[in-house]
Amino acid sequence: MGKINLFYLARRNLKRKWFRSLALILAVTIASGALFASVLMMESVGRGAEISTSMLGADVMVVPVGYEAQARASLLAGEPNKFYMSRSVEDEVKNVPGVAQTSVQVFAETAAFPCCGFTKSFLIGFDPETDFTVMKWVGESLNRPFGKDDAVLGYSLAALPGFKTYVHGHELTVWGKLRQSGIKYFDNSLFVPIETLYDIAEESKKGGEVAPLEIERGQISVVLVKAEEGVSPDVLEVRIEGRVPGVIAIPMPRVLHTVRAQMATLFGSLTILVAVLWVANTLMVGAIFTTIVSERRKELGILRAIGANRRHVFRLILAEAAFLTALGGLLGIAAGGALFYAYKGIVTSSFSALKIPYIWPTAAQVAAISVFTLISALAMGIIGALYPAYTSAKLDPYNAIRTGE
């Protein structure tokens, strides 16, 4: 037989009105499940946006005027948008005070026909000489320098280094594969040297059954810019837009900010709903425990008679509430997590449709969110039961025994 203590007594007390306990547990399960799932979703979206921008390694992205949204969609959702400007823009940007480094990329899409090893994939031409975005994320690669007809594959494209593939009939060797990032821009793309992409585009126009790549040699999609130390991306934005006509400079922190603003709109009502559920459950705990204290006046009086002091009674009521809500919290985490996992595909594609990057959180994040949810559930019980616990501790033992008879 285990030792009899307050917590044992609290656990046993909860069994006496099992339906009431069960109803309260279920209510807390729903609130905790909603809290867990929504925080998990918000964290995942936030993390997706953060990783997208940080992996790119640029402070500012320069694109043709009018293509800001498409550029964002390409970066955040890995959408193969096509917009072009002259490569001479890079030289102009380079001359802007405060610019430390630039690199260019050109965006295209592989065709949906067998002429291409990876159909309908995001095809990105990059400059290996100046690149600071792609090569640093290469995981496994061939043991030789990156060559002209080599390609770097995103993690999700199924081929190993050494594999031969074709883009509009042009043979490419898979030189390396990027590490998994969860970001479509990196995971689903095929990166080739920019000069090779120009060659492929020219070859595609010589005839054939598929639509050619509409890129002219010397065209680029974006200039990725690194700022000098101490120069903020916002300052660089103003300088670039003031000195280079026909372009728009997008500071990376603003991309993050935009995603966060989208999140706020998207999750605003969800946050309110979760907050309302939390407050409603806390009040419900208060109401239920007020009834419990009233029903058990005599018993609480007897506990005082046999030696329980006010703190014992206070702690007993709080422990009962905390047990119930902690159990509800744990079930909520399990239910929220299970539902989330079951609908993982739908969640990911829904965010993808909204052009918002979404990354399944790490185990450490899930653990942290679980702890947060559990603490919230415990707080629900403790705060809700605070007043009934206080009144029960203040009961005069004799009165409690007599009026409870």
Binding site: M1, K3, I4, N5, L6, L303, A305, I306, A308, R310
Partner: protein, 227 residues
Amino acid sequence: MIIKTEHLCKTYKIGDQVIEAVKGVDIEIERGKFVSIVGHSGSGKTTLLSMIGGLTRPTHGKVYIDGINIWNLSDEKLSELRNKKIGFMFQFSSLIPTLNAIENVMLPVAFGKGVSGDVERRAKELLELVGLGHRMHNVPSQLSGGEQRRVAIARALINDPDIILADEPTGDLDRETEDEVMELFLKINRDFGKTFVMVTHNPELAKRTDITLRMENGSIIAREEHG
């Protein structure tokens, strides 16, 4: 004197009406005595007992247990005193319904400080003493009224208190069970030297105690010593 009261008073205010439940009671009880308090309903017996037991604060006066003025103690110290020095018996079933017999007996230990010895073994011995060694894993709803009282007696003894305060402990029991419970009280009083203060309506039971205090309108009007 193990129990002493000095001019103990208790008044209640119900609306504009002031009710004097206990009026200036002075009593002294020696260690090891079995004292009964008798009187009509509303005479103040239970209120007096609860003030002696530290359950309700007197309006005036003092209660000394072993020389300690208990109503000068903090809630924590007073609760500790109730836990260690006093065992309570009530006129109704006072067991916790979710705990079985042995758990109910062990419960006061949960509120005590510095528990020593094998509590479970002692609880079993006490249940054996009250004749319930075979029912220790039954919950109160599986026990008869008399058995519930006997479990309450075992619980009152678990911390080996000096004083047992019993408020009409046999009130709702049949004659035979009442007799059994009273025999048990007398045995504990005689064999273990525990001081008993028992409120009762039953003059036959009162006659079996050492001293009877008769109360009327909040005052002690007579003290009878039995041979």
